[in-house]
């Protein structure tokens, strides 16, 4: 068999290797994470029961990203033992105006009054909502430094320098059991990581994906928290 010495093929192979290296490198920045949960009541979920994931009101200063809520919902619903998650906009619309940022109950003390309002208990029962999960927190850039300059001209372009930044993702999920109208507990995730961007002609990003790590960790922990019928 004659070896393929086509220079185009060789170039393609090199390009693939560089892309694979970049993709691998971009996943390789380190993150440290801490997951905790505090259980205040027995949990468990029956077939046909569902959960809703909501962001705490921005009237209370919360800035949880829509993408994060979506990510947690998708991760909880996915995979083995995935739970039934009702899209939060569908839930909020069905119960309008009682879960708007201004009117949503701030704690479980407000639940009995809310459930006594016309139609509220019926809608919640019809949708099979057992747990309401309130997310609080966000991802912030806590530090950063370095410098990089890029230039482009008729002969090509490139970057030179080194930049780094540190992100911290801190989220807390408060679980309300709508069956007992009580607080079932909280699950929290704190993830921090430093991203690096060295560049010698081509920038090579080494990204610390703190938010996606926090999403995955929090969602898996929430799944266990709700399903596991452990002693308090």
């Amino acid at each position: 068999m004659v070896p393929d010495n086509n220079p185009k093929q060789g170039y393609k192979m090199q390009l693939r290797a560089v892309v694979a290296l970049l993709a691998g490198a971009s996943l390789s920045a380190c993150v440290t994470s801490r997951l905790e949960h505090i259980k205040e009541a027995k949990t468990g979920i029956l077939e046909g029961e569902s959960i809703v994931i909501m962001a705490k009101s921005y009237h209370l200063g919360n800035e949880t990203e829509e993408k994060f809520i979506e990510c947690v919902g998708n991760t909880i619903a996915r995979g083995r033992g995935g739970l039934r998650v009702i899209p939060n906009q569908e839930f909020v619309d069905a119960l309008f105006p009682w879960f708007e940022p201004r009117t949503a109950p701030a704690d479980t003390k407000g639940l009995p009054a809310l459930m006594s309002r016309p139609g509220v208990a019926e809608v919640i029962k019809e949708k099979g909502v057992r747990y309401l999960i309130w997310l609080d927190g966000d991802t912030d850039k806590t530090a950063g430094g370095g410098s990089m300059s890029c230039a482009i001209g008729p002969g090509g372009g490139g970057c030179f320098g080194f930049a780094w930044w540190q992100n911290e993702s801190a989220y807390e999920a408060t679980v309300w059991d709508l069956d007992g109208l009580a607080d079932a507990g909280t699950v929290s995730a704190e993830v921090s990581g430093t991203s690096f961007l060295p560049a010698i002609i081509i920038p090579v990003p080494l990204i610390a994906r703190t938010r996606s790590k926090a999403c995955k960790g929090l969602a898996e922990q929430l799944k266990l928290f709700i399903v596991a019928d452990e002693e308090i």
Binding site: Y58, E66, A94, P97
Partner: protein, 255 residues
């Protein structure tokens, strides 16, 4: 020929053009320059966001057994607000007739009998318990450049005047509604649109929760309506009818 095109054509016709590789580079440069110029020119033109008939969900409330009419100002049919961010782009938001739609849906859900009357109609000739006249006192929004966040925020200050069946004003209630949305999720235009819709939903929620308490509208129910319709469980009666209820403090920019 527009200035941008003229500039590009002058570049393309320079000494590099027509020399093999140089010609190829020149074509690429032409395309890149055109893209950049178009992007810059579009950016200078500002953004226009239009709300096309947004609706609020059907509220889960018990209706007040009253016959009510609403009279809307002309601006409710075509409300446009412009904001020039200093040194940056101009933003325009066109609410169209979404305010008319919002209040019609809202009052239609709050009262057992509801009608919209045109400007110039004498409400004293109608068999109603109350006339509501909503209006917009102020409309403001902030974009990420101003708030130094990735959020768009919208504030709407409505004023609701209520008249009894004799045409006497019994309440003048200002309300401040607020909505915000993250630009990273929806993109600039969609985020501003969503923030405006959230502000309108916020106003609707506020009106459902506090209108009777702040204006005492249920006290205007006539004897005729009381005997014909079932009692209300929607909102508690307030002590006093005449009110200039204190305005709620809205959240500040970036909050």
């Amino acid at each position: 020929m527009p200035f941008a095109q003229a500039l590009i054509h002058r570049q393309a016709g320079g000494p590099i053009a027509g020399r093999g590789l140089g010609n190829l580079k020149s074509k690429w440069l032409e395309r890149i320059s055109a893209t950049v110029l178009v992007a810059v020119l579009c950016g200078c033109g500002g953004s226009r966001v239009t709300l096309k008939n947004p609706s609020i969900p059907k509220p889960l409330i018990a209706q007040l057994p009253m016959s009510v009419a609403a009279r809307y100002p002309a601006e409710f049919d075509n409300f446009v607000h412009e904001e020039q961010v200093i040194g940056k782009e101009k933003w325009t938001i066109d609410l169209g007739s979404s305010n008319r739609l919002l209040f019609t849906q809202l009052f239609g859900a709050m009262f057992t009998e509801f009608m919209v009357i045109e400007e110039g109609t004498d409400a004293r000739d109608l068999p109603i318990d109350a006339l509501i006249e909503p209006s917009i006192d102020a409309f403001e929004f902030s974009v990420p450049n101003q708030s130094q966040t990735d959020e768009f925020a919208v504030w709407i200050r409505y004023r609701i005047k209520i008249f009894d069946s004799d045409g006497v004003q019994v309440a003048n209630w200002p309300i401040a509604a607020y909505g915000k949305s993250q630009s990273s999720t929806f993109g600039g235009d969609a985020a501003l649109r969503k923030a405006a819709i959230l502000a309108m939903r916020d106003a609707a929620a506020l009106i459902i929760m506090q209108m009777d308490k702040s204006t005492g509208i249920s006290k205007l129910r006539s004897t005729n309506t009381r005997s014909n319709l079932a009692p209300s469980t929607a909102m508690p009666d307030s002590e006093s009818i005449q009110t200039t209820a204190a305005e709620e403090i809205p959240d500040g920019p970036g909050q």
